[in-house]
Symmetry: D2
């Protein structure tokens, strides 16, 4: 029940603050004999890295990941994989004046109330920088899931503007600039049926925790999500037919999950990212001495954290699926890879 770990059989533990010497993670439970080198991880990190567009923070971090354990001669060994990124750009002087002041909408206050101490430099542990390790762990998770299973995310709403889905272009995703709050959709195709478990290990419940646990996320939905509240039972039911011995669904309102267990359809999840709380206009606030102050933030920050949340959302979904894939194998090693019937 570590506070800084997630997953069970595929388990990730992260550590590190924004302005400490390094950040890192330990991936435990990865199956052996998967081909793995830094080159399998770095491209995913590069997608998340700040400085990629004029809309993301101006901080320059090379974010070069190193594998420190768990790999021998280019193959995973089944032992814990330690990944690490040195923090090379730590201009902590930028943050000196807010060491004692709590930025509205930030974790500054709650860390102080909980721990009575915090590393204020760059948000410390609550910095979005921690999500780099999620992306790194997600790259390993993708290897566990195999090439058949494809996970992609994209911004579907930026600020108040929904994106026109009929004009969707996956190739455009990486070029997508933007600003303020956002909604990100993650789609996982090729998910075998049977992942998840009743009643407190539902796949959707674990996805909800994983996505809500990303910095600045305030809402999560699966399939039609909140819109289902307005549907009738008939409209919401995904009808089924057989095609070549495999179940074919007429629709996917359920987002690929029924009763907490994957159906074999694409798993669809969406999450809402609040606008960054780093603000240039002074706002009312208080400091750790209980004095009323005005706060504005001068550090380098993302105008739209939603952009960088895209690869993080993909990574979290990858980690959850990898964990459930291993769990499924343990209890149901003979379960089918597709929703074929009869099952055996």
């Amino acid at each position: 029940m570590s506070h800084n770990s997630f997953g069970h059989l595929f388990r990730v533990t992260t550590w590190g603050e924004s302005h400490g010497p390094a950040i890192g993670c330990v991936v435990d439970g990865c199956p052996p004999r998967l081909k793995l080198s830094e080159a399998d991880i770095q491209p995913w990190l590069d997608r998340r890295r700040p400085g990629q567009s004029r809309f993301t923070t101006q901080r320059r971090e090379p974010d070069q990941v190193r594998i420190l354990s768990g790999v021998f001669q280019g193959m995973t060994t089944g032992t814990p994989i330690a990944l690490q990124i040195d923090n090379v750009d730590q201009r902590s002087k930028d943050y000196g004046d807010i060491a004692d002041r709590f930025r509205p909408g930030h974790a500054d206050l709650t860390y102080e109330l909980k721990y009575g101490i915090r590393d204020p430099r760059g948000g410390g542990r609550s910095s979005a920088r921690e999500t780099a390790m999620r992306v790194a762990a997600g790259a390993v998770a993708r290897l566990v899931l195999g090439a058949r299973l494809r996970i992609r995310a994209a911004l579907v709403q930026i600020g108040p503007h929904p994106i026109d889905r009929s004009r969707w272009d996956w190739d455009a995703v990486d070029r997508n600039p933007s600003s303020c709050g956002a909604v990100v959709e993650v789609v996982a195709e090729g998910v075998p049926p049977g992942l998840g478990a009743p009643v407190y290990a539902k796949l959707d419940a674990d996805l909800a925790a994983a996505l809500m646990g990303i910095n600045a996320v305030k809402g999560v939905e699966i399939g039609d999500g909140f819109a289902t509240a307005s549907l009738s039972g008939e409209a919401n039911a995904d009808e089924m037919r057989m095609r070549d011995g495999v179940v074919a669904f007429a629709s996917n309102h359920a987002g690929g999950i029924l009763g907490g267990i994957s159906t074999g359809q694409p798993v669809v999840a969406r999450f809402a990212v609040k606008p960054t709380s780093s603000i240039l206009t002074p706002r009312h606030s208080v400091d750790r001495h209980g004095q009323e102050v005005e706060v504005s933030t001068k550090g380098r920050h993302d105008p739209c954290v939603g952009i960088r949340a895209v690869p993080v959302g993909e990574a979290m979904v990858a980690c959850v699926l990898a964990d459930h894939l291993l769990r499924q194998r343990a209890q149901n090693p003979d379960a089918p890879d597709t929703p074929r019937l009869p099952r055996n």
Copy 2:
């Protein structure tokens, strides 16, 4: 990592199928010397019980809970509390004709694909009946939280109709009849600051998992939730002032949680319940032999599961808060009960 447990220090394990001899749960980790009898639990169950209004299922279940362990002379002993409800109304013949057929929108198919076997009577393990034990466990969690902490939920949207919040009346909640999909809001007042933990034990992440894990829930949001995607950073920030040595917030867009940790404001969560998938109009489906069939459901079911989800949502929030209260005590025994500054 039990599939049928949730929580860590306040940990609940449930068992039982809709039409087996009984359902039950084990509540582990409850502090000792709390006054507890069946009378503390039964009223919450009675709120959830079917047959309370003409909009909920016609099944009659007395749902009399019994405490089988963990209580001595009316006080908890610190050892596991076993709660049990006998299933007295099990007309399983109603379900005979759907034993081999998969109802669209139900877990029938996914249980078959995962396990290759399922108890089809009344939904078996995936029946909403399991939620009775969540409500029972939640009643124990409320005792751990104490009277100062108050958790209430209500329907805020029924089908496509949002409820007018300005005309809100907590007393009317229990009389609220309704139908189809719904959105339920849970508000916890009196939550001390400091509950939750970075990075993978965030209070909002645990609430998201707990609420998404309720049957038929497809979306969860905290505070302003999905609406924050449309807000600017300035509009979304909850400004702070001091009042009598305690932080006073000008607003609560954050829903009482910042950086995964409670602020001391009311914790606000909402979840969307899809319309019940039990349907009278025949729908296309398949059976376990891979044959195409038409399915309609004749059993006794809730037209709006959202109604019965209200006490379940409260109970899940109570369990999550009780768990985090114990976790907070372990690591930060001297943390304050209110957001007062300076902290010490």
Copy 3:
């Protein structure tokens, strides 16, 4: 991290006090479609039951186990299996005079110091009666392990008298009467290689916890155990040769485990059971008011708990192996069942 659960993928949670209405357990994670009825469990319970010989307690408990969930039409469904035994013989008046007094060598004092309350009737939660549920869970674990894997235990020392291993007779085990402290040896044959995991999920570490967690156990050893301290490295090494493509060991000092992982040899563990602390001669003690008293025990108790610990030890080993079998399947689904080389 439940205080009353053990195992991870094959996970057992027990509840109940000696003199409450019932005791029970929940077995979670059991694979589906295993044939299971009460008749698979009852014989193991009958072996443990008191009143079997004149050396065990005179209490008469029918110990009829009931399956309340997780089984449909005689097959496991993959959902939690609830097992329950009603307590039908609860002469609690026997214990009235020790409600406030702490028996030396018993948990009476420590429960009071920890919780400030305890159910004194028959030892409450610390009663050896709880072990009945371990035996029941162990019966389920044996089904998971399959008939190829055989787990047997026997007394190898009773009081100060070691048992002559050269005259060993497995068939005599069930007839073995005895008294006072004891050492029990458990041997599991047919264990596949590869169970266990470095570094904190070693098979021997999990066996040590499982066996040390049995009431009155004060020591655990694997293979040659404490005797290895006196051996030289050469004498202790189990040499290897090949026989029909499979590794053949010249000896089994290691008890079937190297580096925390099973070798394919029989797994051998031993545990020491202290003499029962229930005593007829008055002993110095104190009561919950801090008064000095004399205590002797008049209840019905086992003169040698080692006898009844034999099936409990078997059950704990079965549960640990079942858990590790599932874990192994998750990470290494293609691992061989025997120590054959080359591996693939």
Copy 4:
């Protein structure tokens, strides 16, 4: 349920191989505002370090620990503490000739059978080098436990020679040279009563797992351990009297634990370390191709791993006690620090 983590609220995850670039650990759940720097950890590592006496391995490792996160301005922050030691002396050529051969008594074979791959350099993950991180984590655990709680270990048997307890000298422990197998005793004084929990979180069960999980350990006992099998119930019971309002025990056969819960007496545990399996005389073995070979080891190894196991045993006990101290605080925040009666 990470394979490479232990503890629950005070949780340690280790990573790294003997001849990789570094080894490390993450300590999660440590309370905030404890004074911590490398100087609090290094002395414990120096005690464990090889090259300290002519009886330990000749490998020279500076073992300089670095704190990479979780500490700000010399104080713990409550966030994960990452500790790391670079591997600076990695003469891997020494191990080249045993890459394919399995040393009897080593984990070589079982890693191959489990994973189908292993890092053979210096034992890889199964190297005793991993225990350096346990010692480092134990140093942090000592800070959590406070100065009142003192944990010391010593060799009590070296090879076949028991050490004369009547001539015991704690100061001599650090100078104690030795060889072959060994028995190590760990004594923790100042342990508050109430640590541990029934039934599957017993303090002795967790100690057993922690100590059995140390490399080369084959047996664990608490208090009088295996000797209790030969005692009568009367002889084994620790009688109690009151002294200044606190329970005073006449003896400590129980090793400070009754019913899985600490009594307030010193906690006493012992573990047996088998002789190092690294051997100079050629032994029969096999290689990964299934060929019969002779194996002898030429690397630098400890003649008596028992010597270096002394600080490791202390560290594991420290970690277990720190974990249980936090757990106790969570459930029983008002429990007394000494066995005083009446409790409240």
